[in-house]
Symmetry: C2
């Protein structure tokens, strides 16, 4: 019998989550039955969208249940297998995160492709869901053209840092925001044209306008709130606003003020389109080939912020909302 520690949702947060909303539990795992596999997780992912699943309301993914283990992306290694498709040592991607180990049907797991020089946890970041989110949202909705100006909020996060670099590869001028001078320095070192610390800038609108006085053609929104207003203000006619996330609003306990300049959407013929990465799942192979190629050519860099051990998973998650990560936020489990 193997034991695993896992994180349960203890109660539903109102506002920003705290330690009190999570509980560490130890469970015993049976041996895998026919068609099942025992997996030891190596890394688990925490992502802003998970906050939405802590509300009890209908959404594109079902809500987490109080008293039950949380779910999320994880990469792990097969320990023992009763599924002929898997053998010990295989690396797999799953949605069985927030635990150290688990038993699951092999059909619920995705075997990871081997890409030279890419560590396994990259399949939770640049080559995984956040990378696909960046690549598909930017190319399928933002439609950047050579010479366009692209504005990215949350530019040093897992999604934003990929968006900013892909836009550079596509021949765009890129302006990105982040919340610390270190993140701004990282963006500059990655070749981003204009990086702005939105917390220290006297005026976000002024700082972005100074950087790109002719306005923006594409806005990739991870943040919402004031950033979205700035994007609407500086949008050029026919600009595309890719609505990927609005982390500024996720912990709001009252209705949030909407953008006061939404009317520009008519006068400037703007397109504002939201998406959930699962709608682009069919592009996964194309994405991994293209992104894998860029990584091997040294055209894409990424950062990771790693918390150690399952007990730190709630801290890692809570840290997303104060911007304590540069790049992908991960929890190392083994």
């Amino acid at each position: 019998m193997t034991t695993s520690r896992e994180i349960h949702l203890k109660s539903r947060p109102a506002g920003t989550p705290t330690q009190a909303h999570f509980e560490l539990a130890t469970v015993e795992l049976p041996a895998p039955s026919a068609g099942e596999v025992l997996v030891k997780n190596l890394y688990m992912s925490v992502d802003p969208y998970m906050r939405g699943r802590m509300y009890d309301r209908p959404s594109y993914v079902p809500p987490f249940q109080v008293g039950e283990v949380l779910q999320g992306g994880a990469v792990g290694e097969v320990v023992s297998s009763n599924d002929p498709g898997f053998k010990p040592g295989d690396l797999v991607n799953s949605m069985f995160g927030w635990r150290e180990a688990y038993v699951a049907p092999g059909s619920a797991l995705q075997k990871l492709p081997a890409i030279e020089g890419v560590p396994v946890q990259a399949f939770l970041g640049i080559l995984g869901m956040p990378g696909l989110t960046a690549w598909s949202g930017l190319t399928q909705i933002g439609e950047p053209k050579d010479g366009d100006t692209v504005f990215v909020s949350g530019g040093a996060g897992a999604v934003g840092s990929a968006v900013a670099q892909i836009a550079k590869i596509k021949g765009c001028t890129v302006v990105a925001t982040a919340g610390t001078d270190e993140k701004v320095a990282w963006l500059r070192s990655a070749g981003i044209d204009h990086a702005i610390n939105y917390k220290s800038a006297p005026s976000l609108l002024g700082a972005v306008r100074d950087a790109v006085p002719k306005g923006i053609d594409v806005y990739f929104d991870n943040v919402g709130g004031e950033h979205l207003e700035v994007a609407l203000e500086l949008a050029r006619p026919f600009a595309r606003l890719v609505e990927c996330g609005m982390i500024a609003n996720y912990n709001a306990t009252e209705p949030v003020e909407g953008p006061r300049n939404i009317m520009y959407i008519v006068g400037k013929s703007l397109k504002m389109q939201g998406f959930i990465v699962t709608q682009f799942a069919g592009l996964q192979t194309q994405f991994q080939a293209e992104m894998g190629g860029w990584i091997q050519q040294g055209k894409i860099r990424w950062e990771e912020t790693i918390f150690d051990g399952i007990a730190k998973a709630p801290d890692a998650f809570i840290g997303l909302f104060s911007g304590s990560n540069t790049g992908k936020m991960l929890v190392k489990l083994a």
Copy 2:
């Protein structure tokens, strides 16, 4: 020498325009020079977008100038011509509205096609700019499919009444709002499934939700404000929000509150896209053929609200903002 009366912009309104912002002037017209034509206007159009041209700010059309004649769509009859392309009696469409007569180069005029059973002023409404706005916005951005539910605000106006009927032709269930019981009755008589008086409904959200409990696939927005919030609330995944106008905001003197539920755009993967009808000018011929066919088959009805005489043009325009029109608002000039 011919004289013409015309309307000048006397001063720029802040808030809702009043009589005091307009001035009636009489001018003398020269005989047409080579390439020019003398036209007597029969009908002129007043449209909500003209309010935007009364602000002194950059936009997709240049602002009106104080002390100068206002411009706008008009249909007229050629009186005398020095352009071989035109002869007396020809009917023409132009942007030389807000005056009884004018001299202009023939190249600035568009000769009207004759469509059996269609009066000349229809080229300012159902077969003109408002009709093209409705048809192109709905088909090119809204992309309604058979069985979809379409929500239209300003449903009894020139654009909205065309949208609602085209959506019915496309096989959709249609819910439309208007501001008087008479307009609601007209919408019902035109075969619209659900017509709601948004001024007397205790709750706009409740009324629309009761009418279409499964939610909406397309929203055609002429109004903005609360209607847009309701549309975001009731939108189904992948719904399209066609942003044609936001008349609720046009006379605002302070920044308007934005939709507080804009975050749905991410979670429901919504597309919200604004447009100006000129971008679809290339579809004019296709539009007139299709719409002309529907009119002749009796599938499309329209209403006109007609003010008499150039001196009444400001009243007609001001009336747009209190909803004093059913269907196309026109001024009869001759």
